[in-house]
Symmetry: C2
Subunit: 353 residues, 2 copies
Amino acid sequence: MERVTLQTIADRVGVSRTTVSNAFSRPDQLNEELRRRILEVASELGYPGPHPAARTLRRGRAGVIGVIFTEALSYAFADSYAVGFLRGLASVAEQSGTGVHLIGWPSPDAAEEVIGDAVVDGFCLFSPEGHPLVETVLRRRLPVVTVDYPYVEGVPFVGIDDRIAARRAAEYALGLGHRRVAVLGVQPIAGRTNRDWLDLDRPGDLRFGAGRARLAGYRDACEAAGLAWKEVAVGRTPNDRELARQAAAGLLDADPRPTVVLAPTDEVAFAVLDVAAQRGIEVPRDLSVIGFDDVPAAAPAGLTTVRQPITEKGTTAGRLLLQPSRSDTAPCVLMETDLVVRRTTAPPPGAGA
Amino acid sequence: MERVTLQTIADRVGVSRTTVSNAFSRPDQLNEELRRRILEVASELGYPGPHPAARTLRRGRAGVIGVIFTEALSYAFADSYAVGFLRGLASVAEQSGTGVHLIGWPSPDAAEEVIGDAVVDGFCLFSPEGHPLVETVLRRRLPVVTVDYPYVEGVPFVGIDDRIAARRAAEYALGLGHRRVAVLGVQPIAGRTNRDWLDLDRPGDLRFGAGRARLAGYRDACEAAGLAWKEVAVGRTPNDRELARQAAAGLLDADPRPTVVLAPTDEVAFAVLDVAAQRGIEVPRDLSVIGFDDVPAAAPAGLTTVRQPITEKGTTAGRLLLQPSRSDTAPCVLMETDLVVRRTTAPPPGAGA
DNA sequence: GATGGCTTCTTAATCAATTCAGAACTAGGG
DNA sequence: CCCTAGTTCTGAATTGATTAAGAAGCCATC
């Protein structure tokens, strides 16, 4: 059985290849009766329809956008922040008949290849912790939007001001009277972490990771409140509930125990709550906990956290990609955030409620 | 600025197009020094790399598989069963340098187009509730694997025996002594539901939906235990925790109230637990609840449920797609399931514990 | 009876690569 | 000096469609 192409059908029906193409793609260009005959023969021969790669090549448009993650693709489905973002992006893409191609990143080499081979009309770089692949992506010379990190001059961007938002959260805690403060930072996954990751003063560095920017915001608030940074217990952890329990335990087992933990994400905040429950530490009486993101699970858990418009970030990124602006300067959207106070925060014990 | 192609570079360096192509795709075919010169010129000219569509067209391989969902793409990220499945699939794809293209289904027409336009090497049809698009997909004449439903003769398949698994769960409940039984079925989303959806006796129909198959399993168990099906309270609901609360309330507010609810999914079971908590009905003392799927949230919630290997389904489907079997008959994998008894089931009240 | 406008179809160019067969050159062995 | 083998590069065919430009036929209008 040979391959069936437009030509096969054209020969069989006795018309030109063009006419057969029109039968599929521009029905108004030919006689209805002839079109029916063509489609009938096509179906008889088992023609799979116009070849998408050939069509894309000729048309110069794929009808798909690619979303590139920082890590392995499975991350996209494990993290509810990522899931929320994708939901927003997908809904916009859907409306314009555009597909979404998810691109993971098993290893740097594989990434180069996958990015080079992606049949897409544009890329969305989704990377809470910076993205070593920006160069590779830009090389494709397609429309690009980066989300969260990094901000690249001339490339459309969607994000929030992590530093300010984190500062607000810390200010709230300090305002409640807390002075024994512990903070946690999200570090990039193992292997890519350098030793002075916690050195917040390296210039320009904050532009490459939400974890560090939030940490810096926490520090800003502490110092403004007259609390020296070196008196604050600082830990770091991957953004995984399971793994974060270790770091959380480290902080909660210290003596004196902190009265508030500022977590870099809700996921990590949940880990802190888990450990507190294990230890019989009552929240918020003995310990206050603040998260970041306001993922769907935060509300039922009563977690005080910094809300950011997760899904809206996705829709915004989608629109930026699908309807590129005509202006000279690349759009740069900073979303609003706000502190959502729920049931995991209270004044420190002995504050004389 | 003109478009830069292999030819542009070839002209500039003074070699043939073939040689430039080799510089990118088959480094062993040319002199290292010449290759360096070519790559240098390419980078100077801002060459984006070999055009993926052209490459795919010529090679006849895309390096991507498509996953087609039953409903809107956002569903894929809202449902934890789907998320688990995708995680498995993605991990296998990743290992063989293959991308994953997620394909939603905003409307039937849009779907035809998106499926026809997808530059992929194969399709995975993921559809707990049957799939009207099987025909469209098969027309592409690419490798296909269907997951859960529908089972199509000659098409590789991965799934579980929903009917048997559901029967086992119901048998357990009946074995505990329950006689006032309520069951819930998951119906496809509104608009595609016909009126006699609950008529389990329509021939062949059970092959098109986990919801109905599980319902049939519950019925099998009841009748085998001498409990007439018409004495069982039957409700139906979409697979959404929020929406399912309504159906759950309908069952729990009945008089006499059932002592056990057999839910078609964990998501629905959670809704039943929510409503029970609202009403002050104590689980498992006053009410037993059994779910289905064993999603990650089931264990912490203590939900008794039917475990199915969600992620493993994904890896299996991936392998079937990426390493098509050489055998004549299409592989058909039925996964194991088992009942996981946790803290939401007990003998009915007044059974003399 | 020529002119113009429609509809319907065809011709030929184009999209951007890959690949196979073969040419040119170098080097080694007899 | 010739033959063979190996490396490096080229020419031409091929992949499967879309599209702009143009031709043929038909009808109505002036």
